[in-house]
Symmetry: C2
Subunit: 467 residues, 2 copies
């Protein structure tokens, strides 16, 4: 049992259409059920819907030719990266051709002096960071999953480093995009800033493939800091943990990462990653800078934590210790879902002004404590963004219904605090009614833009809003 995936009217492909696609891309056209299923399902809780075919694209020009073919025949086009999105963002609910960009994984150029690089959309973030390491640079956006850069752009991803380095919104200088008429545009030059016309770059970021196909991304990079220090600290209260973060930011500490995990999440992490942290509300910190500046940041935050009921800091200063710590954090989702064998996961994604975060998490925890199934909380506390992770029995349909109700109460709570229903996962299939609750008539303006750029509703139809 998965959540209901809304099915929209689906037309069969026109006669001979796949022959024309095949003539263009050769054996990179796949119609086998296994590959179609792989591109029709989601990491999350949606029922799969299969595309009619999958094309593994090789070049931007080929994507443009495919778009022309599809538009000419009225066939939906769904861009696909690593398939790690979790709001059903790539499920082809109206069928059509999924364009898998994962083989477009070339790192086109790195400009060390300019702290930027240009990559094809299918490059994965871990691959990019391995490539950059020798040049003393890194790409900070880290959503946990080893997503593609194109997919991260399309969903406006962020993750653990956003408190210091921003989200994909800030990380991107320019995009190469295939538009509906099969044209290839570049949304901006490589200058660090520009006031040249409408911000097409930001319009495409977070548009979930509904306005065009992103094929290349120019990214801002950062110098690998001289010193990096990570630590874990337990708190005797949620409020104490949140206050520690707020006060640290207020005093100007540039926290590179600060993650909150509740007691239930810490139990799951200890079990999954074979660790022995206290099973209390916990902050995972990371500090970046020169050695003396990191030392200063650490002293400041330790003092603030002590005033707010924090325990000892457990340090991980060696690279391998740090990797172990952040690996545990990255696997927290799987750790939580697998509290029950065979369970399926569902992650919520609200983000609220930080002054309301402790209240929002506390009320949510109270709601979860009344639930019949296990759930944990973890989040990017510096941004006010947190996730509830449910571990759902796939054979108990009433649990899915219960989770839907809890999630709706959570979204309502966040909106009442002037927050958003999605900090970083996107709207996809799952949050379309929440988007309207959140932004009201502004959604009509989004629809006007969609209709202007894609009047036939062929680019990833059925996502963000119905046409």
């Amino acid at each position: 049992m998965s959540a209901h995936t809304p099915l929209l009217p689906r037309k069969p492909l026109p006669d001979g259409f796949l022959d024309r696609v095949g003539a263009l891309v050769g054996d990179r056209l796949a119609t086998g059920e296994a590959i179609r299923l792989q591109h029709g399902q989601s990491e999350a809780h949606f029922e799969p819907v299969l595309p009619d075919a999958v094309v593994f694209a090789a070049t931007t020009e080929e994507v443009a030719a495919l778009v022309k073919l599809c538009v000419g025949a009225g066939v939906p086009i769904i861009p696909f990266g690593a398939g790690t999105s979790i709001e059903g963002n790539t499920i082809p609910v109206m069928g059509g051709i999924t364009i898998d960009l994962s083989r477009m994984d070339a790192i086109i150029e790195v400009n060390q002096e300019d702290f930027d690089c240009t990559v094809q959309a299918g490059v994965r973030r871990e691959q990019l960071n391995e490539h950059l390491r020798d040049q003393g640079l890194f790409f900070p956006i880290d959503p946990g999953a080893n997503a593609t850069i194109g997919g991260m752009a399309a969903t406006r991803a962020s993750g653990t480093n956003a408190v210091r380095y921003g989200t994909m919104r800030e990380a991107i200088l320019s995009l190469k995009v295939v538009t509906l008429d099969g044209k290839i545009i570049r949304t901006a030059r490589r200058a660090r800033k520009s006031a040249a016309g409408y911000d097409l770059t930001r319009l495409m970021i977070g548009s979930e493939g509904t306005l065009g196909i992103i094929t290349e991304v120019t990214l801002r990079l950062h110098a690998i800091p001289e010193a990096i220090s990570s630590a874990v600290c337990s708190f005797d209260s949620l409020q104490g943990a949140v206050d520690t973060v707020v006060q640290s930011i207020q005093i100007g500490v540039p926290l590179a990462r600060v993650e909150i995990l509740d007691d239930a999440q810490m139990r799951a992490v200890n079990r999954w990653s074979k660790l022995d942290y206290p099973e209390l509300t916990t902050l995972f910190f990371e500090f970046h800078g020169s050695q003396s500046y990191v030392d200063e940041q650490v002293r400041t935050v330790e003092e603030i934590a002590a005033m707010n009921g924090g325990g000892e800091f457990r340090w991980s200063n060696l690279p391998e210790q740090r990797s172990k710590l952040w690996k545990a954090r990255h696997e927290a989702y799987y750790a939580a879902v697998n509290m029950r064998p065979g369970a399926i996961g569902w992650a919520t994604d609200v983000c609220v002004p930080i002054s309301r975060l402790a209240e929002c998490i506390t009320q949510t925890r109270e709601d979860l404590d009344k639930a019949s199934l296990p759930a944990t909380i973890l989040g990017h506390v510096g941004d006010g963004n947190f996730h509830v992770i449910f571990s759902i029995d796939p054979n108990a349909p009433e649990e899915m219904v219960e989770v839907e109700a809890i999630n709706q109460r959570l979204v309502d709570r966040a909106l009442a605090m002037d927050g958003t229903c999605t900090g970083e996962h996107g709207i996809g299939l799952g949050k379309q009614h929440c988007l309207v609750d959140e932004l009201g008539e502004a959604v009509d303006l989004m629809r006007v833009i969609k209709r202007a750029l894609d009047p036939q509703n062929l680019f990833n139809p059925g996502k963000i809003f119905t046409f």
Copy 2:
């Protein structure tokens, strides 16, 4: 003699239209020539064009009602803040009603713990910073002029602090906007980040009033640093100055401000602000942080400067010294223009990848040295953005022609380096052909958006592109 301001077809107001506007806004409707002239001219080099009338708006709801009136009658609507833009961005080239938002100057709320505030569009940045000071917060974006926040949003302004704190693109969390149908939308909630649908906030930022009227802005704020230190350092070469900045950023120094002024600009500054700096290529620095961190940054940058031919650092650590230094920097435009009595100014605005900046400035200086009129160079070197300021004899039309040619060569040079024709001033009237050179067919996509959101071409018509 000013530059040619392109005049577009202008229709007289419909009979009785101003009576209907007057019934709505009372004596805040102005039709006198002096006020219309004030709203029809520009700080820069464009010939004035007068609006048919000016309304001093009082509320968002009133702006919405005005928009409905104007749209119903097919009358252009031009939003106006402080009038400090310099690409003719507010000149009503098709006539119509200028909506002056400067009386909408309420600071609606400041959320200290969330580091944000919401202000009406007419609030000026100096007013905001005075209001915030007691709360330990500041709003960093500083374009020099005491612009309104709404105007800064509409032109995607930046300025001296952008190297550390970003531009208006990064500074804005949410906007209240009046759309063409007279609806009032809010583009986002107050959460620090969101993946909820298309980024209408960023679409409106930099749209120069052509897609809607911004009436309220929710801004990110920053904690006033514990220590602020400013310094001036002269260099024996342009390359040495630029290399100092690049190497400082590369090593991770978070420069809060770093401005470059060439020898001609330093002569102008000394004369205008009665100072005695060496008349050489000079960097103006500002460092923010804890005292010990500022000390560390300063030591690092002093070492790097010394290796690159920099002289002694002249420090301004007391607030009044600092204000004097930055006042001189802010008045640099007037200092340069007034090298010749009665002259009018023209500021260029290219921005290039920083690896190309020294080359771009050097080639530009060579071009300027061949010119028949005086010109200086200053810029936001950390972003790769610099301005040439011309001091033009208004009675010598051949000088305007010469400046236009130099500017075109400068834009071509910047574009060849993958830069932009405008780092922060916008397209307005003056750079429409440059925008097409820069972004090609992407401009067609902008036009599609404009036509979808404003099919009658009533919001600030004639700006960014012709319809």
